[in-house]
């Protein structure tokens, strides 16, 4: 077992983190909601200078790790840029979105001349066409109306890669929510003592931490399988299910720890919460992801200390 990240990938993560914080971190996301053109004027040059467009997770351990940690660093401040879609594509090619059937909207589609949609239900791939500028909605701040276009060639490992990178994006956001909650629990006094001293709050912090660590570990495991070529769709849907459940647990507990302040626009957890909803629902929500997982376990089996074999009827 070798759990350590490549040093180059860690350096890249630190660079991304520093660059995004230097531009205001989550403040930049707030500003871009008010003025979506900031994505072009401020973020595009930054993303290009960091070299995201040259990264291809298919090219080996260091690139895959850099893609994952880059996505996580960007997720920490819910950067208003479709980095996961970009990183899921081969270097320099159009961003890759996952869909289930015909999508109505996709995030940030206005930023690219072309994009691809991979349908997770049958693996088919089509052009994805944006229909105008960003049309903000409370839980879909950078959504763009869209439609499917002509059939296209699917990039290798697009689905598993997208799912893994999405998990890292979400993990970054959950890390921020976790640290904000823990810090607040120490700072906030009620009944003459920090709320961190109350068992009910400790319970929530522990569950929040457990959910985040669970996602972190499973994401690392699945990334390692992606790198060595052994990742299956069952692995991917298992990770996505954990991502959704972890996000639900972290966000729900974070809000309870933070109380009313966590619901206010001025608080970063509010921003994180709404910016995660799209990735948690598209292309599949929790129940549909669980069903997809069960279907793939039946078809492919599942790798454990005591593996589960494919079901004969499903595999046939």
């Amino acid at each position: 077992m070798k759990r350590e990240w490549p040093a180059d990938a860690l350096d890249f993560e630190a660079s991304v983190e520093a660059a995004l914080r230097g531009r205001g971190g989550i403040e930049l996301t707030r500003a871009a909601e008010a003025d979506p053109s900031l994505r072009e004027s401020q973020l595009r040059p930054l993303i290009e200078s960091l070299g995201f467009a040259e990264i291809d997770f298919r090219l080996g351990e260091i690139e895959a790790a850099a893609a994952a940690l880059g996505a996580k660093a960007a997720g920490r401040v819910v950067t208003p840029w479709p980095l996961v879609a970009q990183l899921a594509a081969p270097a320099g090619e159009p961003p890759v979105y996952l869909v289930a059937g015909t999508p109505r909207r996709a995030e940030h589609l206005d930023l690219f001349e072309s994009a691809l949609a991979v349908d997770v239900r049958d693996g088919s791939c089509r052009q994805l066409e944006g229909l105008g500028p960003v049309a903000p909605m409370p839980l879909d701040p950078f959504g763009v109306p869209c439609r499917l276009g002509e059939p296209a060639r699917c990039p290798v490992d697009a689905v598993v890669g997208q799912v893994v990178l999405s998990a890292y994006w979400v993990l970054g956001a959950l890390e921020t929510a976790t640290s904000l909650s823990a810090a607040y629990a120490v700072e906030r006094n009620q009944f003459d003592r920090p709320i961190a001293s109350f068992g009910a709050i400790q319970w929530r912090l522990a569950d929040l931490s457990g959910a985040q660590v669970a996602l972190s570990e499973l994401a690392g495991f699945t990334l390692a399988k992606l790198i060595d070529g052994s990742a299956t769709l069952a692995d991917a849907w298992g990770l996505r299910l954990t991502m959704i459940e972890s996000a639900e647990a972290v966000l729900a507990n974070a809000h309870q720890v933070l109380g009313a302040i966590g619901l206010c626009e001025e608080h970063d957890v509010t921003v994180i919460d709404r910016h995660l909803q799209g990735v948690l629902r598209r292309p599949l929500g929790r129940i549909e992801t669980n069903a997809a997982l069960a279907e793939r376990v039946g078809a492919e089996g599942f790798d454990l200390l005591y593996p589960v074999a494919p079901r004969a009827t499903s595999a046939a």
């Binding site: 077992m1 070798k2 759990r3 350590e4 990240w5 490549p6 351990e61 790790a65 976790t178 823990a182 629990a185 120490v186 920090p194 961190a196 068992g199 709050i201 400790q202 319970w203 912090l205 522990a206 569950d207 931490s209 457990g210 660590v213 669970a214 570990e217 499973l218 690392g220 495991f221 990334l223 390692a224 399988k225 790198i227 060595d228 069952a234 298992g238 990770l239 299910l241 954990t242 669980n290 069903a291 997982l293 069960a294 376990v297 039946g298 599942f302 454990l304 200390l305 005591y306 593996p307 589960v308 074999a309 079901r311 009827t313 499903s314």
Partner: protein, 384 residues
């Protein structure tokens, strides 16, 4: 990056699985069942492990071990727990009594106890919990009073003591000083269970035989030479023990094996309830994998640094998984899952797993205490 077993670990797994298949009697359900057959099978199996130098493989070479890597140790725990822990009560001596004596013991204590643990000829019980000190371990009251130049008299009661009726030795916590904080003034004694004044009374429970007992100490004589570590500073030893104990049981491995076996019993039709069972099973496969990975994270961190939050978080995930898997197993098997006779599927493992899982979030520190430890680590409150 890789999370796969390296060659040494995968070879060890194969070797252990072969030994289990060749040496354990068919239908073996652990050492702690009615009658003596389970104990005898466990004793035989321990001797086989000792012959192959596998019983103490986790120990340092200077104490007769094999300096096994942390991942080989993990594989051993996993394979044992997944097969009803065929080391019986010995796992306790191997996992934390021995290491505690290595860490804190005198040369004489090491010479007396380590060889006996290493060849499985001594069985230990843990005298920690008391009627008024469960999760709040430091509130223990069992009193050790000076009765001579180097003698003590031990008086009080321990409870929930597993395997006390089988044990030759007790790893006993006692109060030697009441004057300071409750974490001060605790001393560890290594006491033979056949010493006059020690009485064991079994407590029947849903876990099955031998799991729970009360142990009474009525002016039991102990000597300074039987103190482990420093007098009054037993809390340091307890913290060492708890870190080893919490990581010591690979419940997730048993859960993975149950889930794997359970797959054979899943319905394969298109009814909504069948789809729901398959979905619930698939979800727990992922949760089992994740719980294992959280344990691995914790194991890796103990190799480099003390990480109480990590151990507690992993334990919390694992114990909750244990209960979820047991509940699902009963759902999948339906009525048959309740039965403990020869006709029950999976050698009637499921009903036993369900009963045992009830204790998962209580034994070795309740889930409430584990959450408290995680939260303390998050908010940087110093661990006590």
């Amino acid at each position: 990056m890789t999370f796969a077993d390296d060659k040494a670990v995968s070879n060890l797994r194969l070797r252990l699985r072969r030994m289990i298949e060749e040496n354990l009697p068919e239908g073996f359900r652990g050492a702690f069942v009615e009658g003596t057959a389970g104990q005898e099978a466990a004793n035989d199996f321990c001797r086989r492990l000792a012959e192959e130098n596998l019983l103490t493989m986790s120990w340092p070479r200077e104490f007769g071990g094999a300096d096994a890597s942390i991942w080989e140790q993990a594989a051993l725990r996993e394979e044992m727990w997944a097969h009803h822990e065929p080391r019986g009560a010995q796992y306790m001596g191997l996992n934390w009594v021995g290491p505690s004596i290595m860490q804190f013991g005198t040369p004489e204590q090491r010479a007396q106890h380590l060889p006996a643990i290493a060849n499985a000829s001594s069985t230990w019980c843990q005298g920690f919990s008391e009627p008024e000190a469960g999760s709040d371990l430091a509130s223990l009251r069992l009193r050790a009073q000076r009765s001579g130049e180097d003698e003590w008299l031990l008086s009080g009661q321990k409870i929930w003591t597993s395997y006390a009726s089988l044990a030759q030795w007790c790893f006993l916590t006692a109060r030697t000083d009441n004057s300071g904080s409750k974490h001060h003034g605790i001393t560890i004694f290594l006491v033979p269970m056949d010493r006059p004044g020690v009485t064991v009374r079994k407590i029947d429970s849903m876990l099955g035989p031998h799991h729970l007992n009360e142990v009474f100490f009525d002016e039991v004589v102990a000597s300074d030479a039987e103190i482990l570590g420093e007098r009054d500073k037993g809390w340091d030893v307890i913290r060492f023990v708890l870190a080893h104990e919490r990581i010591g049981i690979a419940r997730y491995a048993r859960d993975e094996r149950i889930l794997s076996l359970l797959a054979e019993y899943l319905p394969d039709d298109e009814r909504p309830e069948s789809e729901a069972l398959r979905a619930a099973h698939a979800r727990l496969l992922v949760k089992a994998r994740t719980a294992r990975l959280m344990n691995y994270r914790s194991i890796a961190s103990t190799a480099s640094a003390d990480a109480p939050g990590g151990v507690s978080g992993a334990r919390l995930a694992t114990t909750l998984l244990d209960q979820e898997v047991a509940a699902l197993a009963l759902e999948v098997l339906g009525e048959e899952g309740l039965y403990a006779d020869d006709l029950a599927p999976l050698d009637a493992w499921v009903e036993e797993a369900w009963r045992y899982a009830r204790s998962a979030t209580i034994a070795s520190g309740t889930s409430e205490v584990q959450r408290l430890l995680v939260a303390r680590a998050m908010t940087r409150e110093p661990a006590r």
